[in-house]
């Protein structure tokens, strides 16, 4: 019915999207790889070709590996809370809570997700303040002074404090999405399970979890991708400190480009981030395809 000409003309519909993608998304990837083979910065008169030097620097740079570990930690914790705990929370809300209360709780839990990440970051940097912050005061009030820390000022606690803030902000968000997914599960499945003698926990594992697989997969992709792209929270709360203990790949890239006068190295880091996120996404999609998941 549609002639060949009509179909070609149909490409018009895709033109804006493709042009924007090509210029602003794909061009930077390619350019990044190219730039990563040079050494240059804001003040260098001429970029110097250095081959794989920047990548060698990355491989031997302890802070690069530290950043990578921090991103992985971010991903793991986020999966546990924003996918695992969140699903449990959603299940509890659906099973054990009255209709009206459920609505109210959903709204309350979702609120942190609507305030800007920066607001949450700055707010939590105040909460973590060792002198007047909520957390230390709370610990003191219940007699746990020995647990008081300079949360954002100590190497051992800085990145975990940031990760904690991130969970606070996002648990409600993912829980709401899971609630929707759970609501679509046909009640008959639960009835059948109950008839077979399954208690609430068994039902959770044998009915709920398998039936929300699509949402789970989607949220896993989003959560892990998000964990590798973290920038805002860390920048606002610690800027990567103290002594680079809370650097993540994104902030380390920024630091090298704009504070250490080494843009070539920053491009190399960026290329690594791209390869990691791209690789993970491909992996997820391949696994997903095997499970017949639709994007």
């Amino acid at each position: 019915m549609a002639s060949r000409m009509t179909r070609i003309r149909g490409l018009i519909w895709l033109l804006p999207a493709l042009v924007l993608l090509g210029v602003f998304v794909y061009y930077p990837i390619v350019e990044n790889v190219r730039l990563s083979f040079y050494s240059w910065n804001a003040f260098s008169p001429k970029p110097v070709f250095v081959g794989f030097d920047n990548y060698a620097t990355a491989a031997s740079d302890p802070i690069f590996w530290r950043s990578l570990r921090n991103n992985i930690a971010y991903a793991v914790v986020s999966l546990v809370f924003q996918v695992g705990c969140s699903l449990c929370l959603a299940a509890v809300l659906e099973e054990f809570v009255h209709q009206r209360l459920r609505g109210i709780l959903r709204v309350i839990y979702f609120i942190p997700a609507v305030i800007s990440i920066t607001v949450a970051g700055i707010l939590f940097s105040f909460i973590y303040n060792p002198q007047f912050g909520l957390l230390n005061r709370l610990l003191g009030a219940v007699g746990l002074e020995q647990w008081q820390h300079s949360w954002l000022g100590e190497r051992s606690t800085a990145i975990w404090s940031i990760i904690g803030m991130s969970q606070w902000q996002s648990i409600g968000y993912t829980a709401v999405l899971f609630v929707v997914a759970i609501q679509r599960i046909p009640r008959e499945l639960y009835e059948a399970a109950r008839v077979d003698g399954a208690g609430a926990v068994r039902q959770f594992f044998s009915v709920t979890i398998p039936m929300v697989r699509e949402m789970t997969t989607l949220l896993i992709i989003l959560t892990v991708a998000g964990a590798f792209l973290v920038f805002n929270e860390v920048m606002v709360m610690t800027a990567g400190g103290p002594s680079d203990s809370s650097q993540v790949l994104g902030t380390w890239l920024y630091r090298n480009a704009f504070l250490a006068d080494d843009m070539g190295y920053a491009s190399a880091i960026a290329t690594v981030i791209f390869v990691l996120t791209f690789g993970f996404a491909i992996l997820q999609i391949m696994i997903g395809r095997r499970r017949r998941v639709e994007m």
């Binding site: 491009s267 996120t277 999609i285």
Partner: protein
């Protein structure tokens, strides 16, 4: 978090119940209740603290962090206002609103082209879109530098508009595409037979039917654009054009020890969003999930 139930005897209040084990039932319900309440406190208290602290002064803040403020120092809010919070808010709103329109529209066109208009190379194009999904904004920082200058949009809100659109097109297109695939073709075909052009079908038929997913897309775009930080940090220089995230951080480094004024700034930045959300929460949550739930 105490949301995992451990007692096998637990049963929901509005479902068929088991006759025995009512003590276990109550204990679990109480535990769950406490857990949920604790979560509510964990969510709400920091925000309340933020609001209360914005009315205090420095010494009150250090001395009694828990208490209600002694007096309502609206001056703090005035200082925050003067530090530019409103301007940042306006800039963010402009860019967010603009990018919602452009992203949703361009993605809808693309999805329509892929699904309804049988364009050639549709597989390749889908692949290109998919690839775009996996590019991190931070990756693009350094190369985009030079590019934005050459296009003469560096340090303008247009730069952000263009970038926020380009980077969200893949996700939004897939979102709309998934929805569109499930839509019956007969509707289109009928209109086509009646003589309607592709364009007319798009605007009069497809777009209205896709409203739920478009609303979802718009809301997700809003959340992204509102929070976007890296591009706003690097590509906007003039403080008059800063968006909220960057402006707040700027303010923080300027109002170093004036904690209450910073709290006031945070409150002014967060409150509108919370209020908007509370007002429209049913539509918001429905819009967010209706499309995505598919």
């Amino acid at each position: 978090m105490t949301s995992s139930t451990t007692s096998p005897m637990a049963v929901a209040p509005n479902r068929a119940t088991r006759a025995d084990g009512w003590i276990g039932r109550t204990v679990v319900q109480v535990l769950i209740g406490i857990g949920l309440l604790a979560l509510v406190l964990a969510v709400v208290y920091p925000l309340l603290w933020m609001v209360f602290s914005s009315f205090k002064n420095n010494s009150e803040l250090f001395a009694n962090p828990w208490s209600l403020p002694g007096e309502m120092r609206w001056g703090n809010f005035e200082r925050a206002w003067n530090a530019g919070v409103v301007r940042f808010f306006v800039n963010s709103t402009l860019v967010t609103a603009g990018s919602i329109v452009t992203t949703t529209l361009i993605s809808a066109w693309a999805a329509y082209g892929l699904v309804r208009v049988k364009v050639p190379f549709s597989n390749a194009i889908t692949g290109i879109l998919l690839g775009g999904l996996m590019v991190a904004p931070t990756v693009a920082l350094v190369p985009l530098f030079g590019l934005l200058q050459r296009l003469h949009i560096y340090d303008s809100l247009w730069a952000l508009l263009v970038l926020y659109t380009a980077f969200r097109i893949p996700f939004t297109t897939f979102l709309i595409r998934a929805y569109l695939i499930d839509m019956p073709r007969e509707m289109d075909e009928a209109a086509y037979v009646d003589g309607a052009t592709r364009t007319q079908i798009f605007w009069r038929l497809v777009l209205p039917v896709c409203r739920p997913i478009l609303v979802s897309a718009a809301l997700l775009q809003a959340l992204f654009a509102w929070n976007e930080f890296a591009f706003a940090l690097v590509f906007i220089s003039d403080s008059d054009r800063k968006t909220l995230p960057v402006g707040l951080m700027d303010m923080q480094s300027r109002l170093l020890t004036e904690w209450p004024v910073q709290f006031a700034g945070l409150t002014m930045a967060a409150l509108p969003m919370i209020v908007l959300f509370l007002i429209g929460q049913r539509q918001f949550l429905r819009g967010l999930t209706e499309g995505m739930g598919k």
